[in-house]
Point group: C2
Chain length 375, copies 2
């Protein structure tokens, strides 16, 4: 199973930090761990590093596979690898599991050294700004003073934008895909229904379910089912599932009947088996809170006044979660500051999930953009 | 509190039926009760009757108020009354609570005479076609051979359409507002998440919660919160709530924070207090199953071949649940059959809920249409 365009077998690494981290909420962690992966080689001038920021349910495992689990392919393996758009023959790529996550970095399921039990609901509510600080510390550890590029889709794109605001001197190119400068009331509403599904699940136990040998599966499953509706477009659902009946006929009951139900319940079940409920809550709050314009009286252009990076903003026509209009708001703010900006809108059917797909035009653009980055 | 444009204090009536009703599913009810209200007077030639069909959470209480509860105003009181668009000085208006409902008509919470306990999950899965049959029997009871018009919004509009197919000789005008000829995969997906929220609530007890002194509040609440997102438009939510914070500042926790959360949770709580979970399941299935084209090989025009009524089809630009494109599908099928059809699309901001609002252009059209109906 040798794929020459794959980074191949990869190994996750960990970095321990003993400097306290103060969160935007005021809470502090005395120490924490970040789990990360790297692909390619950092060049001598340390000018070829690219940070990949993950979205709601992503991880540090961006590309390649694990020796002991060849089927566990990185979530953006179609984008990152030798000869791929983000070419690991040229770039040194870093993927990191965000703080508060559930894939190895310190998060709600980690044992709090002060109490000897999992942080659970006591883990600080983490924001995009907090993540950027923790990622900058990881960059220090790796000897990366300045990233050639920081890239992410959705919540990952928000982190890329935030880097350009908080550490303008540390990033040359920001690539922000399928994101928004802030969530709308409707976006927040969807997140709140998902959160309420988890919070009201009797097996959530106020977030302290770890020692109860239960998990709030029902809530997580509903949250993920709902999420999936917003990741796909109406058209892609119609194309993929339509009104096709599983058994060919109506069953006049509540078992799976339409194919779309089967798909969503499967996605929900799979997610509930692997994801942490407290992490899900944290990720949705980070989304809700992201709003760089807020501290500038709602003026997004003012928020970007200190940015110096070059930007590539990408949107997809069928994305109704973060529509192209939302990317255009970012574009306008960047142009108002006379920054170097490229904007691309791709006609796709896959909705918000398009950023993970291999649309050839989209990938061609990404390839060309990365090739244009001087090292 | 005398409102000359109100039908005033009204009283619900009941009709008992002892003729067995066979459902599309094959199930049978030996007898059943329908609760209904009427406003205005049936004229001597019995030519002025209008049936109002309700949507998912509606009832027979369409207009007016109850003597002992003046605040319990009918759900379409802005449309129905003396001098209102559906003028009760001219028309005899009938509102009926659909079979399977939870407001007086036989439904899951009704005692099954055969077992002495509530039907619960044993209540037949009811379809739009079944409702139309039961409504026709009510019409027989009231001495109405032919309705001047049958009107409804959303699921109510589907019933109005079905009447024109199953009893073409019994309806002269069909007014179908904010509806669709069938649900999309995305529509079904939202319904299934709502159903799963209810079905997996531990207090649902497989639908037999009535004798357990609990109700599946959590599930119903989530279902309603989610429903509300799809009833409103992104723009109306933005206008009404935006990103306004309840307390003016982020609280870094999971209590109500944004105004939109407060609104949705309130709506969810209120609904969970008054609505029956089994009825909710039934109503969503009726929506999913509605597909008159299905028995004609997917050809909607063929489905309407036997229709003879005049039609008014109404859609709203901001309705993303059942968008104007969905109404245009109906329009096309009617025109293919050279039926007398009027179509109106109104520019509103209230999303799917627009059909319940008092947009002046919309109400003017309704008024004019009803005035044009010959008695």
């Amino acid at each position: 199973m040798h794929d020459p365009a794959s980074v191949g077998a990869v190994t996750a690494q960990t970095a321990e930090f003993n400097t306290p981290l103060q969160f935007r909420s005021g809470a502090t962690l005395d120490g924490y761990r970040l789990v990360f992966e790297t692909y390619g080689e950092l060049n001598a001038s340390r000018s070829n590093a690219v940070l990949v920021c993950h979205a709601l349910s992503g991880t540090h495992h961006v590309a390649g596979h694990y020796e002991d689990n060849p089927r566990d392919i990185g979530w953006w393996d179609n984008m990152v690898g030798p000869g791929k758009p983000l070419d690991t023959n040229r770039f040194f790529v870093v993927g990191v599991n965000n703080l508060g996550g559930c894939h190895g970095s310190t998060g709600p399921s980690t044992i709090d050294p002060e109490t000897g039990r999992p942080f659970g609901p006591r883990f600080p509510v983490v924001t995009v700004e907090d993540w950027v600080v923790s990622q900058a510390r990881l960059a220090d550890r790796l000897g990366i003073e300045q990233f050639a590029a920081i890239i992410g889709g959705s919540l990952g794109g928000m982190q890329a934008l935030q880097w350009s605001l908080d550490f303008p001197e540390r990033v040359r190119h920001v690539i922000c895909i399928a994101a928004a400068p802030k969530l709308t009331a409707q976006n927040i509403a969807f997140n709140d229904v998902a959160r309420q599904a988890i919070l009201t699940d009797p097996e959530f136990h106020g977030g302290d379910f770890y020692d109860k040998s239960v998990v709030p599966r029902r809530g997580l499953r509903l949250a993920r089912m709902l999420g999936h509706i917003t990741y796909l477009s109406d058209d892609s659902m119609a194309e993929k599932f339509g009104r096709v009946l599983r058994s060919g006929a109506l069953n006049f009951g509540y078992d799976v009947e339409f194919e779309i139900e089967s798909y969503l319940r499967y996605q929900g079940d799979k997610f509930a088996d692997r994801f942490d409920a407290n992490t899900y809550l944290l990720m949705t709050k980070a989304l809700d809170y992201f709003d760089p314009a807020h501290s500038h009286g709602g003026d997004l252009s003012a928020a970007f006044r200190g940015a110096t990076a070059n930007f590539l903003i990408v949107a997809f026509t069928s994305d109704w979660r973060f529509s192209p209009e939302r990317s255009e708001e970012i574009l306008k703010a960047l142009l108002d500051n006379e920054l170097d900006v490229s904007y691309a809108e791709f006609k796709t059917v896959h909705g918000h999930d398009s950023f993970l797909m291999t649309d050839p035009h989209y990938h061609e653009l990404m390839r060309a953009y990365f090739q244009s980055i001087e090292l």
